[in-house]
């Protein structure tokens, strides 16, 4: 039960950190996505039965704040949840490997969705600029930050649900 109290607070902190701090730290034009990393790490360690509901709720929050259409973050974070659940079943003994793999795939997917949306909105941009100045730096930053986020989330999970640390 405590997981349902701790996880929303942790998600809110992650969202505030992302919007307040990490979105301003840029490498070229890319930046780390702490919310995404936190969701991946949390999905890999949490044993909450209704975790999908929490993910949808926070997807909705991010969708409301973001300039992207409401449904994009909502659907994307739910997709991340499904991906991590699959990886958790298959690479259960190595959560860090699952974390890296999920981060890599999710970051590519997130940027792919963003670029697709720019295409749909007919915004003028060059794919090479998007790839080299935003996508690649963002992937690098996400991979770098995935380890500390994983470690922090693992510790939180150990505290609130000792069973979750075994995953």
């Amino acid at each position: 039960m405590i997981e349902y109290l701790i996880s929303p607070v942790s998600f809110l902190i992650a969202i505030m950190l992302q919007y307040g701090i990490f979105s301003r730290w840029t490498l070229l034009s890319g930046c780390v996505d702490i919310v995404l990393l936190f969701i991946i790490a949390f999905c890999l360690h949490s044993n909450a039965k209704r975790l999908w509901l929490i993910i949808l709720f926070f997807g909705a929050i991010v969708g409301t704040i973001s300039a992207l259409p409401f449904y994009i973050p909502l659907a994307f974070y739910f997709g991340v949840f499904l991906l991590t659940q699959q990886l958790r079943k298959r690479i259960m003994q190595t959560p860090l490997l699952s974390m890296y793999l999920s981060t890599f795939i999710s970051t590519l997917a997130w940027h792919g969705i963003n670029i697709a949306w720019l295409f749909v909105k007919r915004m003028p941009f060059e794919f090479s600029t998007a790839f080299f100045e935003i996508l690649l730096p963002s992937v690098l930053l996400n991979m770098l930050f995935s380890f500390p986020v994983h470690a922090i989330t693992q510790e939180i999970s150990r505290v609130i649900t000792p069973k979750g640390a075994e995953a």
């Binding site: 840029t26 034009s29 720019l118 941009f125």
Partner: protein, 278 residues
């Protein structure tokens, strides 16, 4: 008379004489070696005893003093930490005040409009979009479409509003187009943002002579922004013979990465010309 020189009296007299003699000799210093000989062992013993007593007493009382000192030290450290945090808070307030004073100067120098000062509290999560979030919303009189400026120049316009916060679309966003006027060349043009936050200049007539460093001001065309707000300076121009217009790149006058406080022009009525756009 016989009683006066009795044996008893003579004995007492001798004793008194000896005592007075000893006292006089002691006062005159003749007995110092004798006293030294007698008292030195006593004094040494007393010193030894006293030192041991003090050491013994300190052994039991010093931890208490240490505890007191530690408590005092901890209290002082807490006080220092509190004062340091107050200094940091004051420095932040000072920098915030400096920004607000600068914005106030801008508002005073442009009295034709009414302004609402707001603090930037966040940036868009998608790196492809250039938006910031400010801490003022509809409760403070902010409405959709209001132009946003700083003391340096144009920032963007309000894109979404809730009760106590708003989202500002920056002029560096890829979907943002601003009608501008080149001050020296005196021609109208348009700036367009990009996914990386750079601003490009377009719709400049081929016959216009645009120099590097030429100042860009809002033209007011389209009714989205008030005229004569500083946008940036021309960095470079490109002219191709087979195109209708010249293009160029613009150095924005506002530091969008370090944006911390903005002014929302609250009395500007945005003209919605979208029904007229074919």
């Amino acid at each position: 008379m016989r009683d006066l020189f009795s044996l008893k009296n003579i004995r007492n007299l001798v004793i008194v004489t000896i005592v007075f003699g000893i006292i006089i000799m002691a006062m005159s210093g003749y007995l110092t070696p004798v006293f030294s000989f007698i008292f030195n062992p006593v004094i040494s013993t007393q010193s030894w005893l006293s030192e041991r007593y003090v050491a013994f007493r300190d052994f039991f009382t010093s931890p208490r003093d240490m505890a007191t000192l530690r408590a005092q030290n901890q209290a002082l450290e807490q006080e220092v930490a509190q004062l340091q945090s107050e200094i940091v808070a004051l420095q932040e307030s000072l920098s915030q005040s400096e920004i607000l004073f600068t914005l106030l100067d801008f508002a005073r120098s442009h009295p034709e409009h009414e302004y609402i000062a707001a603090t930037v509290i966040g940036r868009e999560i998608s790196p492809y979009l250039q938006y910031v979030i400010i801490d003022k919303g509809s409760n403070h009189g902010i409405r959709y479409g209001m132009p946003v400026v700083t003391e340096e120049g144009l920032v963007g316009r309000i894109d979404a509003v809730i009760a106590n916060a708003s989202r500002v679309k920056l002029i560096t966003d890829a979907s943002m187009t601003v009608n501008v006027r080149l001050k020296t060349a005196n021609v109208d043009a348009q700036t367009t943002g990009s996914i990386t936050g750079e601003i490009s200049l377009g719709m400049v007539p081929q016959d216009a002579e645009v120099q590097t460093g030429d100042v860009l001001l809002t033209s007011g065309l389209g009714g989205t922004y008030p005229p004569n707000i500083f946008v940036g300076q021309v960095l470079s121009m490109q002219s191709k013979q087979n195109t209708l217009f010249q293009t160029g790149s613009v150095q924005a006058v506002v530091d969008f990465q370090g944006l911390s406080a903005v002014l929302v022009i609250s009395d500007f009525n945005v003209v919605d010309i979208s029904p007229l756009v074919p």
